[in-house]
């Protein structure tokens, strides 16, 4: 046997161990997690998401939101995520089964968004935030996502979708309006759908404080 054959077999065996543990194992188990039935309403946990929210995931991915925002609540007492009200319970694998790609994230330059849809329920407020973050949070380091919005002249009737409540330099001129593009609408639908507020048996809410 050539010395290369022996050597490569040895590499394959040792490196293969990590492949079995970190690729084959998750593919065979974690990727087959099922939603749990919700006996009260006949629905499921995690709940299904709207088609618009699914489209919004693509916008979230395309604009690299994941590079500043995490979407995971770590358990207590290791972390203070729950004490800081990022969520009432720890995130677990089953929470992500409805996603196409997971946005766990690795940096919190921006807020954690795991339960953004629980805290913020007003679509117009989110549009205002995306259009000009500093008009809502003055110390924000988030860039403006104006390019997801159309600034246009009002023809006959103002659009029902136009962002309301833009003030100061961001307010459109009289006779003009700022209307979200389909991407912005999908993104906001996705952000509103971010909720991990349903019960899962593998992640009970911590009780004693």
């Amino acid at each position: 046997m050539n010395k290369l054959t022996t050597f490569i077999i040895a590499i394959v065996v040792v490196f293969g161990l990590s492949w079995v543990g970190l690729v084959a194992y998750p593919v065979s188990t974690l990727s087959h997690l099922q939603p749990l039935p919700d006996e009260d309403t006949g629905g499921a946990f995690p709940p299904t998401t709207s088609g618009l929210a699914v489209a919004g995931q693509k916008v979230y991915a395309a604009n690299g939101c994941v590079h500043c925002h995490t979407q995971q609540v770590r358990f207590s007492p290791l972390s203070t995520d729950i004490a800081k009200n990022l969520g009432k319970r720890q995130s677990v694998a089953r929470d992500y089964i409805r996603d196409h790609t997971p946005f766990f994230g690795s940096s919190r330059i921006g807020q954690d968004l795991t339960n953004y849809g629980v805290k913020e329920t007003d679509a117009n407020a989110i549009h205002r935030h995306l259009y000009e973050p500093r008009s809502v949070v003055e110390w924000s380091s988030m860039p403006s996502f104006r390019y997801l919005y159309n600034y246009r002249k009002i023809i006959s009737q103002p659009s029902a979708q136009a962002i309301q409540g833009l003030t100061g330099p961001n307010a459109p001129k009289p006779g003009y309006e700022v209307v979200p593009s389909p991407e912005a609408q999908a993104l906001v639908a996705y952000l509103l759908s971010l909720k991990q507020n349903y019960p899962l048996p593998e992640s009970p809410e911590p009780t004693a404080k």
Partner: protein, 423 residues
Amino acid sequence: MLTYGRLYPAAMSLMAYGWATPAAIGIGLWLISRTSQIPLLHTTILTSAGIIWNLGVLLGVCGILIGDGQPFELLAFPSYSTVILFVAFAMIAVWVLFTAWYARNNKFSLAQCFVILAFVSFPWLFCSANLVLLWHPIQASAQGVVAAWYFGGFNNLWLGAMAIGAMFYLIPKAVDRPIYSETLGQLSFWTFLLFAAWTGMARYIGGPFPAWLVSAGVVASVLALIPTFSIAINIHMTLHGQYRVAGWCPTVRFLAVALFSLVFAAVFAAINALPDVNSVTNFSQVPKAQQILGFYGFFSMVAFGAIYYILPRTYNWEWPCSSLIHWHFWLALAGIILGTVSAFLGGFLQGFALFDIANTFRSSVEFVSPFLFLSMLASFLILASNLAFASQFVLMLLKTGKPKNGPTFLAEPIETSHEPAAV
């Protein structure tokens, strides 16, 4: 359109696939032919693979900028470009394995072991990760584990292994003495292979994954100190008494910095993997400090040192300008130190604010912002140093300057020169 969310992954991907990987491939090809004592044959395959690779990178970066990027670190390229990259790399890997098959030496040298490991593990990592994340995506709940495996594997088993292989070849050559201990080297090789592949999951402590996977990552990150220290001791003992060569030989100087960075980065990774530390530092800038140290302080410095050694030998021309090497080195060193220290300190403050219940999120942002400014300055230093290197490289390709009798040194060698003649 070009917000941080698109520019950052584009820049990181360019760093990983536009600089680090091609540099690693070039060094690896040279090392494998040199150590196997076989000339470069069938170079058409290699040059076409190189062209295909670069087209794939170009396509991938444009893909990220137009919004086709993927949300994984180091795997941000859209699937249509990773297919091209895989094909290009497969051509190169097959070529390398054929060369290793016909190797003329009886026993693989340490450098050869690490280079072969790198060329076997990268296609495996790249193919597996792309298959289940992009080409045929599995359920999202499982994707994070595979992405973490790839992240750890890319840094350690591809770039790390190649850089270590280059060190084991270049240091003995540059100071003209054998590796201190072959046995210690073998120990470091196998422990490295065993532990380094598992470290990725340590970045998900407390995350939505089975606890044992994360624990395995923590244990591996700490145990990875064994190969790191054994490699560092081996290289240090080989260099012992010869560190003064770094005073005039660019290769040794760059490699010496890389050696220190390697030790710091590994100690850093081990401490950062401890759950109590990680609960504060995770999601802050601290992991970025680790990245600068590993990616730039270690890998890139080895790559620069290797290029300073290899290019005159393959191109038959000495480096035209020693002061540009000076600039390159000192600006890079300043950039690495400033970048690491500012990300580290700023990250700690940010992490404490994120962790401490009495602090608001706003304070974490305000604590870190002056340090982010320093990080930006560090990036400019590194940019300037890279410009010095790039201009030197172009001058070299144009064969400017006069033909020289000996290599370009940074200063007059003291006593007898330990730089061996070009073979």
